[in-house]
């Protein structure tokens, strides 16, 4: 059983990383698209951001230096990631449950990172976490336990709230299917059981033993409840990257590559070359005004006038 759980842990960790990477590549590998930005764009200078303006407000903008306000963009990103600003502004009712859910997940991620780090350092003989009173114990036992307590509690409250909203709100009901409900039930169970686990084992001995076992490749015997939590955790972790829940990956692209992407064409630049290459791609759209045959290129069809006569 212990060996099986260890194997599962390795497998899921590897699967999670690969699946996330695949998703990143899936989006990153798409061709350069047409500009489709949406204002306000937070990296415009402050005097523009104030009203949502862009460099296109300046006559002959190409003769002026265009400065990007990266700190403001980062501020905007942090507000979105940590506080779920858009949801808070536009759907406060859902934010009340989504915010604890997301914050819970962040704290649980912190809990896991610290436990894994502690286990690795322990395996390398660099720290000895169980030593009472030391900094290592604070960092790798008490702090993760605290993060875990709060994280699991918030996650549980959030998941329960989300489930309740999805089951009862007429707006959400029609758009929520059995799989969505199942996932939320999964999170309720995971966070609920993990919280119970910590209640019965406040210094997370079971979890630490599991990660130390992973770090040293030595199967560790765990309390049954910890087994259950690890098993559920593995299932949820494996599901995230293959579902729309990996929106944290998508969000990077929707914001940076689409909404805030106001990169202007520079003749002879990288983008210019990329688009010129894409104009050589074949077109097979078959409506009569295009008549793509899979051989004609974008440059060919765009350079053709589909109307027979000319007006001159």
């Amino acid at each position: 059983m212990s060996a099986l759980m260890m194997g599962l842990g390795y497998l899921v960790a590897v699967f999670f990383c690969i699946a996330i990477l695949v998703r990143v590549v899936h989006f990153a590998n798409t061709p350069a698209h047409l500009r489709w930005e949406l204002y306000p764009v937070p990296h415009e200078p402050p005097e523009k951001v104030e009203h949502g303006g862009s460099y296109l407000e300046d006559t002959d903008w190409w003769t002026k230096k265009h400065e990007s306000d990266i700190p403001n963009e980062i501020k905007e990103m942090l507000e979105e990631i940590l506080l779920l600003k858009a949801l808070r502004t536009h759907n406060r009712k859902l934010w009340y449950v989504s915010f604890p859910f997301h914050s819970g997940i962040y704290l649980v991620a912190g809990f896991l990172v610290l436990l894994i780090l502690g286990a690795v350092l322990s395996a390398l003989g660099l720290v000895s976490a169980p030593e009472p009173g030391g900094l290592a114990r604070l960092l790798f036992v008490h702090l993760p336990a605290l993060l875990g307590f709060i994280g699991f509690a918030m996650g549980l409250a959030g998941a329960l709230g989300l489930l309740f909203r999805r089951l009862t709100e007429p707006d959400l009901k029609d758009f929520t299917g059995p799989v969505d409900h199942g996932i939320l039930v999964g999170f309720v169970l995971l966070f609920g059981l993990a919280f119970t686990c910590l209640l019965t084992d406040p210094t997370a001995t079971g979890f630490r033993a599991y990660f130390l076992g992973l770090a040293t490749a030595t199967p560790a015997a765990l309390p049954p409840l910890t087994y259950l939590v690890v098993l559920l955790g593995c299932i949820m972790l494996a599901y995230i990257p293959v579902s729309h829940m990996s929106h944290f990956v998508a969000k990077y692209f929707t914001y940076h590559s689409v909404r805030w992407n106001d990169e202007a064409m520079e003749p002879g630049g990288k983008l210019d070359k990329a688009i010129q290459k894409q104009l050589k791609l074949p077109v097979s759209w078959s409506a009569s005004h295009i008549a793509g045959d899979g051989k004609k290129t974008w440059a060919d069809v765009a350079g053709t006038n589909p109307t027979k006569e000319s007006g001159k």
Binding site: P31, H33, L34, L271, I290, W298
Partner: protein, 534 residues
Amino acid sequence: MSKPISLNDFDKPSEQLTHLELQELMPLPPPYDNVDEHPRWAPLKPQAREKYACSLDDTIAISLPKPQSKEEERELLEKFVSGLRKLLSREDNWSFLQPLLLSLEHCEKCQSCNESCPIYVSSGHNDLYRPTYRSEIFRRLVNKYGKGQKLRAKIKGEDIDLNWTTLSRLAELSYRCTLCRRCAQTCPIGIDNGLITHEIRKLFSQELGIAPKEIHDDGSMLQLKVGSSTGMNPLVVKDNIEFIDEEMEEMTGISIKTPWDKAGADILLIHNAGEIMAWPENPGAFAIILEAAGMSWTLSSDLVGYDGINYGLWYDDVQLARVALKHAEIAKKLGVKKIVIGECGHASKALTVIADRVLVGNSFVRRESAMTLIADIVDSGRLKLDPSRNNFPITLHDPCNLVRLMGVVEPQRRVLRAIAPQFREMEPHGVHNYCCGGGSGFAIMSGHNFNDWRTSVSARMKFKQILEAFSDCMDPSVKKYVCAPCSNCKGAIRDLLAYYDAWEKSSINYGGLVELVVNAMPEIKEPFIEWEWH
């Protein structure tokens, strides 16, 4: 309250998926709050019902003929599926593949975007017009038929049947959204339901050859054929501008000779040619301002060069590229320093922003909106302007394409602050504005009873905003002006005001920005703004 519409209803044949009652629509402020005084909608004629697909709601936008045989129906469905696959392909849809995949694969269905949609809210929260409804139907079709995930669709409870009902309803539903992208602004994930609508329209146009006649046959095709969607060929447009020059002289006493095809001019000015036909005072005012400011500018009489519209922006990437390339080619030929696009939001966005990644290599040419040019001229003090000549309540309509989609927000305000003492904002405004209701082609679409739907539903929020902006001076003795620096928006607002008799009842007029600038020029004796408009 209309009956809730489930996603599962969409593929089930029925006479009509929804019906709107005037009483259910978002209430309007006084004196337009009595629904009984509102115009009644013309029902679709029995011949139209007989001939065209009309099982979505009370109107039709695209007049899609019903298939005459099972064979024809099957062919349409097959083409739809092949179009779905092409939308997902790097070759056929490099232009929007990444944004499309992101929006298809990551919606959390949290419904946070719904309240931002003027159509959904104005309709009295009719489920069919949720930004998410159309997208979710399309997402299900993509997953099941485009990606072949039939089992997954069943397990997830997202099964949908592709049949004639589904296809024809989806085609219509893609013309119940103005592509204003206000919903995208509110989405926490960055999902863009406007973009999904855009891609659905592309699929229908680029693969099935289905698009509203006003946009395709009488729009981009006519423009490519005779030079302008107005039908004006180069000779006619020159004639019309000559007539406008004469009229301007008569009205203002200023002698104007619009320059044509002036090689080496600094600016190639491209108007939406609709202005020349419907609002000649707008190109006239441009000419007066540019001449008075001593600018080096020209119009072009080359095919397509005198009409800035680019309807492809709304429904077809190939048509978009064709028109943009023509504009660039003409600017190159004339050797101008830049193209300036007149008061037209979609033309400005199409050529400056969207075509930025079409005009590559030798096609590259600098382009900008006229808003910045006019603001600079006003700021520079080159024109003598007397704001007291515009001393009447003025509010500004923000064209979505200029503000939310280009970030051109302040220049037009700089002008108004300088020349309009009673300028007041609508709420919300700027990048958070509401569409005029005529976006994405609606302003020029009025077949069957579409005008009723447009003015009552998609433009309703704009009417509410206009009325609220003038709430302190609603008395008809006070003449009021809605400044809409965009040809399409102006058309939609004209129809809106006419529909509710807002000139007769409340003295609300409309017009462009440059007209107000010329109206403020003291050397012009008679007011330039004409108040009697119908």
